[in-house]
Subunit: 570 residues, 2 copies
């Protein structure tokens, strides 16, 4: 057997640690500020980094909100979108067979061996229900007498846990496990959330699906590694599972990174995304945090610490190499009472019991990530994307906030409702990780899902599974997702390969990996940026997308020019 | 390792051969007649078996044709069907959670480990496109220099075949293989049929997907065994693949059974169905048969031979143990010019060039199978089901013919168009093997597929794949079929388990196997016939189905009674 480079690579190595900078860090108005020394800190002279400005954000937000409600703008965008879809139909009719012919000529590359990234998947539900079931049974066979839980001060073995639940693991079925979404969950995000508890028992979730429990998250690590192993076996599939940081304690990051390193969770086919649930109100009511700023501090300060003083935070330093971004998660359909504006209190003053609104969360996550990224670039370290859940439900404002702050978003269903925003997402090519099977169980029937239409118009969409445990049936959830979309919407090979390409493009995979998976010049526009031998996307399709986008952008540039000229003549 | 009973079983054993009877066989009016001795043969005194009567069939056919066109009958059936669906909605609303509760209590049994039979699948397309691709590449690696084909008198090695096609197997992809159905095949059965040729090359079909070629069907046997192996691994999945007998030569059966035994194709998870393509016209034009009777003789006479003289036909005798039935296949949308009636010529007189109509094929297949089955029962041998493709497209008459002759049918889409026939299929519980993904690529969009409605009304429907090579994407085609149906139609666990139960019920699995998979009393009606520990179908559901059917049947009995009374009083 020949050892590949991969096998020589030690993912947990700390040999590349940069020097500690001993900078001073302090949260100010909800954003971590960096000071080079004590004097600068005292004089409030932060290190020269761009710091996001709340006022600018609020002004921009209200500007776009006005724009998307403007009649003529709505008509214009609606018409352009209609034009885009009709143009694609024409393209399809004229070039479908030519595209297929191109693809047939590509040696050794087809839909099965182009790279696909599952761009939106939650670690706690990344295994199928059958996998979780088998894992629980297997674990019980070997570990029945192991102490796995501390409840009400009492330590319990796995056997005792099951005895208390009045259950024999051998008899357990996917029915009694009851983690699969169905008719009962449609428009019931609350019910859906409780399905993360196997057998409706929070004990089992605690034991099997948590990183910081009595067994140091050993079982969770093991099952995740089994999922990663399957991805590695498949060779062409990657995933970006979400792990949670809640912000109720400053120790969370240390625990999570220790878990990652202790259990050797690294896999070349996985990049990690940190999801922050928007549940300040719960922590506040439990008195875990005094105000919103403290929550932000718990989330972000440790990252700044690890960035400027890596020697003091080796575990976190290593873990962060494989973290590619942040996600903001929760039920978007929950209404917020607070009217977001310039008068909104600063995070330090947000000490009321109710939850800040979506836009508030987004701005402060964005602001901290931006500072952090710039600091990390200075230190020669990796940076993070901001990829919130957005537009799955709730107010259209969410999509505006994300447009101003996010690298890409998950879901984006509500773009259906605003032609202006949809057109903006198209023009800016903001990537959207869509999960039609998840939507089908929660918010929108499959046949009404806008994915196909978005794809036709040229929005940068990818396919993702969200929660295989709750939604999928087969051993290959991502392939199931692709298969159903391809079947139902009669997608061509070129269509599905374009979606796969989009998924790599928008993922947190490294520049090197993207070069290898998409082609050396993947950052260039149009056919030039596409290596058909890697992506199996027809150059005709690439040219069509490029010309079409160019055309739309030119229209606007011309309109602005003639408008300026017009004004000059007046 | 403990040897199970299965492993002691020799599927190819000929120890159980019954005695040869030396009966005389002769085809008369398209039906094989059996004579005990020469004298009986001369006096035309056939052995006492029921022989189907053409006249009765024609009369019954026209009777039902009249009935399904009768206005009041249509209204009645339409209303009953509407009632059935509304009643099911009510049942669902009231009992859904109770059914689920029942299922949660069943230990160790869930949708994943109930038995499922793929009731309709063609052997030549039973592997996925990816599987076929990998198989071709793998075979080329080891067998490039093997002589595999004789073309125009010249023997060719595998390498020469690929060289002539100007192709390197290493470069082959699913795109260039081009066996997957897509938008191009919708309403184009002709295009679809040509997709059985990998790379559009009949050579590759000849080498890899045929039983009687220069290599004695070795590759085809090997790939089928790989598919069977996957089924055995899955443990709970079975399949009934179709193998072709064309009727152009009396030697076909010997070849097929030798192939089966030589390559040891037997698998405990497979039963074989013989498909007879309705292509007399092609054989006639090639002068392979003089008339239709000869085709029937080629198909059926060898079976009678093997039945009465097993010692002379050991291979065929063994093979027939694992053949569970017959299928009649071809594009139903092809129009037939011939008006089927009492005046239609007998098969011996059918020497014209055009093809007999669907009903004609069906009657003569049915008639021969009926005689054969009765003869085999006398000899203590297995019998055969008649399970034609029917109602996929074409005239509604097809469904009438099948109603009179078939044990169950494949597709049945056109029942949508006739309330009377649909109601008859319901009352008689004629099983229907449906393949919505196949339909979606060929005849009917998924969202318009009547499967869900049929299930709700209580028709006995199962799910099958038809042609995984052309339609499916994942490594588990049957699970993909179930997954998509469950997702799109939001089927409950009880729904999918009911479909799985139907599939076992209508399959050609043995009585012993059905007892084991469904419960000892599976032949009894209602909950009594159901072992929930085996099927995971709720007893509430079984009771509902039973009562509902009983109710519908009573209605008719009562109506007939009161009608008779009414007539008596007149």
């Amino acid at each position: 057997m020949i050892l590949t480079l991969q096998e020589y690579y030690d993912p947990y190595s700390t040999e590349d640690l940069p020097e500690d900078l001993n900078y001073h860090l302090k949260m100010k108005d909800g954003i971590v500020n960096v000071y080079e020394n004590n004097e600068d800190l005292e004089n409030e002279r932060p290190h020269d980094l761009p710091y996001a400005d709340f006022e600018t954000f609020v002004v921009d937000l209200s500007h776009i909100l006005t724009m998307i409600a403007d009649g003529p703008t709505k008509t214009y965008c609606h018409r352009r979108l209609n034009f885009l879809i009709s143009k694609f139909y024409l393209h399809e009719m004229l070039n479908e067979m030519a595209e297929l012919k191109e693809l047939k000529k590509v040696p050794h590359r087809d839909f099965y061996n182009v790279r696909k990234v599952d761009t939106h998947i939650h670690a706690a539900a990344c295994m199928s229900q059958k996998h979780l079931l088998t894992f629980i049974k297997k674990t019980y066979k070997s570990d029945a007498d192991r102490v796995v839980l501390k409840k009400d001060g009492q330590k319990q073995t796995l056997k005792q846990v099951f005895d208390n639940l009045n259950m024999n693991p051998y008899d357990l079925t996917v029915d009694s496990l009851d983690v699969h979404a169905g008719r009962q969950t449609f428009h019931r995000f609350d019910k859906f959330n409780s399905m993360y508890n196997p057998v409706g028992a929070s004990e089992l979730r605690e034991i099997f699906l948590k990183t910081d429990n009595l067994i140091d998250g050993e079982y969770f690590a093991r099952i995740i590694k089994e999922v990663s192993h399957d991805l590695e076996e498949s060779k062409y599939q990657h995933a970006e599972p979400r792990l949670s940081i809640y912000g109720h304690s400053p120790l969370e990051w240390d625990n999570l990174s220790s878990w990652f390193i202790q259990h050797k969770v690294y896999s070349p086919n996985t990049r990690w995304i940190i999801q922050v649930p928007r549940i300040y109100d719960i922590f506040k009511s439990r008195k875990l945090v005094p105000n919103f700023a403290k929550m932000l501090e718990n989330i972000f300060l440790p990252l700044f610490e690890a960035t400027v003083n890596p020697h003091k935070h080796k575990n976190l330093h290593v873990f962060l190499k494989y973290v590619s971004g942040f996600d903001s998660v929760d039920d978007e359909s929950k209404h917020s009472d607070h009217m977001f504006s310039l008068k909104s209190p600063k995070p330090e003053q947000w000490d009321r019991d109710d939850n800040p609104p979506y836009s508030y969360y987004l701005f402060y996550m964005y602001a901290n990530i931006m500072v952090l990224n710039n600091l990390r670039v200075e230190c020669g370290l990796s940076t993070f994307q901001f990829r919130p859940h957005c537009g799955e439900a709730g107010s259209i404002t969410h999509l505006v906030s994300a447009f101003l702050t996010a690298d890409n978003i998950s879901h984006g269903l509500n773009l259906k409702k605003s032609p202006v925003l949809q057109y903006l997402y198209y023009l800016a090519q903001v990537p959207i990780a869509m999960s039609p099977l998840s939507n089908n169980s929660l918010f929108l029937e499959y046949s009404k899902n806008p994915l196909r239409e978005f794809l036709q118009k040229g929005l940068c969409v990818s396919l993702s599974t969200d929660d295989p445990m709750q939604f999928h049936y087969t051993k290959e959830p991502l392939m199931e997702e692709y298969a159903i979309a391809a079947q139902l919407w009669k997608l061509s090979t070129c269509d599905v390969c374009e979606i796969a390409r989009n998924s790599v493009l928008q993922s947190g995979l490294s520049h090197q990996e993207k070069k290898y998976f998409l082609g050396e010049n993947y950052l260039k526009d149009g056919p030039e940026g596409n290596n058909i031998h890697r992506t199996n996307v027809a150059q005709i399709r690439m040219a069509y997308r490029h010309e079409t986008l160019w055309n739309e952008l030119s229209f606007i540039v011309d309109a602005v020019k003639s408008d300026t000229m017009h004004s000059n003549f007046q």
